[in-house]
């Protein structure tokens, strides 16, 4: 084994900025809240009915904000319409151009029929919206997974990991939205604990699934090639470990999981709200660690 010292090299700046992490975060929240909204209006699960209207409104608002981050990250923002003019079917960004157009349009139609009270049409567009919502966030996972230079990104787990973390953050956001709505804007000024406890169970379940995927990802990174190992040590012991171990795993997953399952805390609305806020911060940390950390391992 030889001692190697690189005395001169050129390193260009990281191509993708935190804008992209925020974009992934917002589409994830949007997809998550859309899917929750269809539980009642698409699948007829009546106990989730209060999520329907607020869910689709959040989904649309977040998805209007999300692509602005993409355009802000481009060097030539005024050429964004080239994405529709010149297509490359092998590029996930081209898939995204269409998904980011179709999904909000369908959501608008779905919302329109929901507010009109047209149940059959609402159900129809809600069910069409589910594959669109899954794709609009799943494709962002493919953006990273197909960036094959980067060891932290180039894994088949990435789209699934993104979808599950989207559900985690989406449910956490909806818990907060429902609590705020009930507490301050409902006629009774009272939080409906029944709905909250349903969502609490759902959130705890998705956090466990998310943790399983994250642990699988890291374990495989540790046994893979040199760049993958370097990426793993960057997030476990290196510069990004406060974001990964501290924010994503401890504060964003383990502490909320405890609060959401421990009998004394899981029935307290304030504790559940606190756990949900932690989860939302944790998932943002996950997006940051993936987008920025993935680019921090030197390639040449």
């Amino acid at each position: 084994m030889a001692n190697i010292l690189i005395t001169y090299n050129v390193e260009h700046e990281l191509p993708l900025s935190i804008h992209l992490a925020v974009y992934f975060y917002l589409t994830g929240l949007s997809a998550g809240s859309f899917i929750l909204s269809t539980l009642a209006y698409g699948f007829g699960m009546e106990q989730f009915k209060p999520l329907g209207k607020v869910g689709v409104i959040m989904a649309i608002l977040l998805l209007v904000m999300a692509p602005l981050n993409l355009i802000a990250d481009m060097e030539q923002p005024f050429r964004f319409w080239y994405l529709f003019l010149y297509l490359n079917p092998t590029s996930p960004i081209t898939w995204g151009s269409f998904l980011l157009t179709l999904y909000p349009l369908n959501s608008l139609v779905y919302a329109y029929f929901m507010f009109r009270g047209d149940a059959p049409r609402t159900k129809f567009f809600g069910l069409i919206g589910i594959p669109l919502a899954v794709s609009v966030h799943g494709y962002t996972g493919f953006i990273l997974a197909l960036g094959k230079a980067r060891a932290l990104w180039n894994t088949a787990l990435m789209p699934t990991l993104f979808l599950v973390s989207a559900m985690v953050s989406g449910i956490a956001m909806m818990i907060l939205v429902v609590i705020i709505k009930d507490r301050f804007f409902s006629p009774e000024r009272q939080v409906k604990t029944e709905l909250i406890s349903r969502l609490t169970q759902l959130l705890a379940g998705t956090i466990i699934l998310d943790l399983f995927l994250v642990v699988s990802d890291v374990l495989v990174l540790l046994t893979s090639d040199a760049e993958a190992k370097e990426g793993a040590s960057l997030i476990l012991t290196g510069e990004l470990s406060p974001y990964f171990l501290g924010m994503e795993i401890l504060l964003g997953s383990l502490v909320p999981l405890f609060i959401l399952t421990f009998p004394l805390t899981r029935r307290r609305v304030s504790a559940v709200a606190f756990a949900s806020a932690l989860v939302m911060v944790g998932i943002m940390a996950m997006r940051y660690v993936m987008v920025i950390g993935g680019q921090m391992v030197p390639l040449s």
Binding site: Y86, L146, G147, A149
Partner: protein
Amino acid sequence: MSKVRYGMIVDLRRCIGCHACSVACKAELGVPLGVFRTWVKQIEKGSYPQVSKSFLPALCNQCANPICLQNCPTRATYQLDNGIVVVDPHRCIGCKYCIASCPYAVRHVNPLKKIVQKCEFCLHRVEVGLEPACVNTCPTRALTFGDMEDPDSEISRLLATYPVQVLKPERATQPQVYYIGADMYVMEARGMGNAEVRNG
């Protein structure tokens, strides 16, 4: 017309680390301050008194299976029939996905033009029968450029004669810049700065 496939051979035994290739590239193409289309990495190996110094010219590998081309959403990056991978400056939207995807980190954003650029084997020179500027300027003739489909070319002779290596063959990008006299430690060294023991 018969098929043409351009490639380059870098003979590391000849490279003296003079950086003339980087300078010629900058002058030929007006590459702005702070970014490079080609540069020469310097790597020191061993511990005193058993040490050696190596140089590794880095440039776009003009891959036969380029991931940048696969991922470019507007097809601004495309490949000519002669194998050279080119970026259309009028079509690039600067999404930088190609930079993020390239395993060799040889692409950059031109800070003045705000588009992605990289080595294109001096296409404007090659089209009129000249060699790329770096090859033309290299004082030790460490760089050889030519048509690999032509069995009588210098590059074909070198490819057939010497053991060659490419950077990161495991990425399946099929680089068309080959290195003679490549040391594993030099080819796999990444990053900058402090002495670190890499490889097992």
